[in-house]
């Protein structure tokens, strides 16, 4: 191989290396997660961080929670006694990861917000579908306890319950 050939080969190698490096960089760039500076905007940020493929990047979802947050689901049981499922953020995320590419889509039907200085609470009614035009899969209520840590509003306690037959959501919590 002549010097011209080696030069071209080197050039091609460099280009391939550059392309590979750019590809790796593109894959590892963390998504931009805007802080929630107004508690009234928390629900929209939550929805945006939750919807999509189950195994999507959850960086922005994590940033909406404090490290020691608890997410508690009340599940109605027999004789009126509920059971509670209490999860930490990573356990909550792991549930989604186990559902691979299954898609989740949801929207807020109604919400109320109270704020005092660095504490806030948001109660919202949600509706879950697999796509915006898909059939309704579930509805329910989520209640968020929020704190403003100086950089943004984050949830440190979320309590939720799915709607069940015989216990429809009250009209005041519907659109």
């Amino acid at each position: 191989m002549g010097s011209a050939g080696r030069f071209l080969l080197t050039l091609a190698g460099c280009a391939a290396l550059f392309a590979f490096a750019a590809s790796v960089q593109a894959q590892t760039i963390a998504p931009v997660c805007s802080p929630v500076l107004d508690a009234h905007e928390f629900v929209d940020a939550w929805t945006a961080a939750v919807i999509g493929p189950a195994n999507r990047d959850r960086t922005c979802f994590r940033q909406l929670l404090t490290a020691d947050a608890r997410l508690t689901c009340a599940v109605p049981g027999k004789e009126g006694y509920p059971s509670l499922v209490v999860e930490l953020p990573e356990e909550f995320i792991a549930w989604y990861q186990h559902h691979g590419t299954e898609t989740f889509w949801e929207r807020t039907l109604h919400s109320t917000v109270d704020v005092y200085d660095n504490v806030a609470r948001v109660t919202r009614t949600y509706e879950v579908r697999s796509s915006p035009a898909g059939p309704i899969q579930s509805r329910g209520i989520e209640d968020f306890q929020l704190i403003f840590d100086g950089r943004g509003w984050r949830c440190f306690a979320m309590l939720w319950q799915d709607e069940v037959s015989g216990k429809p959501l009250p009209p005041k919590y519907e659109p």
Binding site: D68, V75, S83, D143
Partner: protein
């Protein structure tokens, strides 16, 4: 919110919340007859005031009855630079901290409460006042403090119990807004 398969929820709940199941399924309310019932959210508010108020080192049996075993009590502390930091306490942690006040009496009263509730879950956004013990000069006691309690509660079929409560006392620069006052 994601869909939660019922069988998974029940199986997981059995592992993660033995305290709740034991309380709800096995312990009759009559086991603690001296403590007020909390069958409604109004009763829960009244019971909170009664259980909190009194000497710092009073018996806290009824205070414990208001909470699920894994409940968290979270006062928000405001640093000099305005930064808010939560301090997470267990029920026993709160009792121990307040007991250090000894026999000094303080009275807490929820003066305006807004609640959202449905099925087994509820949120109470409550403005509280704390006062010193009543005396001849002041029948209601001297107003010491005011703030917001933000409470999440669970209904087990017979009574409401608290699972999370956070609070922030007002400051001179950030008094409780008029909309949350009586």
């Amino acid at each position: 919110m994601r869909r939660l398969p019922l069988f998974l929820a029940l199986a997981t709940a059995a592992l993660l919340t033995p305290g709740l199941r034991a309380q709800t399924a096995d312990t009759p309310i009559a086991a603690v007859p001296a403590c007020p019932l909390t069958a409604t959210l109004g009763q829960l508010i009244t019971a909170i005031d009664a259980a909190v108020s009194g000497p710092g080192n009073k018996d806290r049996t009824c205070f414990r009855e208001l909470f699920l075993p894994d409940a968290r009590l979270i006062p928000i502390r405001i640093a000099a630079d305005g930064t808010a930091t939560p301090r997470i306490l267990t029920v026993q942690g709160w009792i121990d901290a307040v007991a250090k006040r000894g026999s000094a009496v303080f009275i807490e009263k929820q003066v305006k409460v807004h609640n959202d509730s449905w099925a087994h879950i509820a949120h109470l956004w409550s403005t509280y006042e704390t006062r010193s013990a009543p005396d001849a000069a002041n029948a209601e006691g001297k107003l010491m403090d005011r703030g917001i309690n933000s409470i999440q509660a669970i209904f087990d079929g017979k009574r409401w119990q608290i699972i999370e409560i956070t609070w922030q006392a007002q400051t001179e620069s950030d008094p409780v807004p008029d909309q949350y006052l009586p």
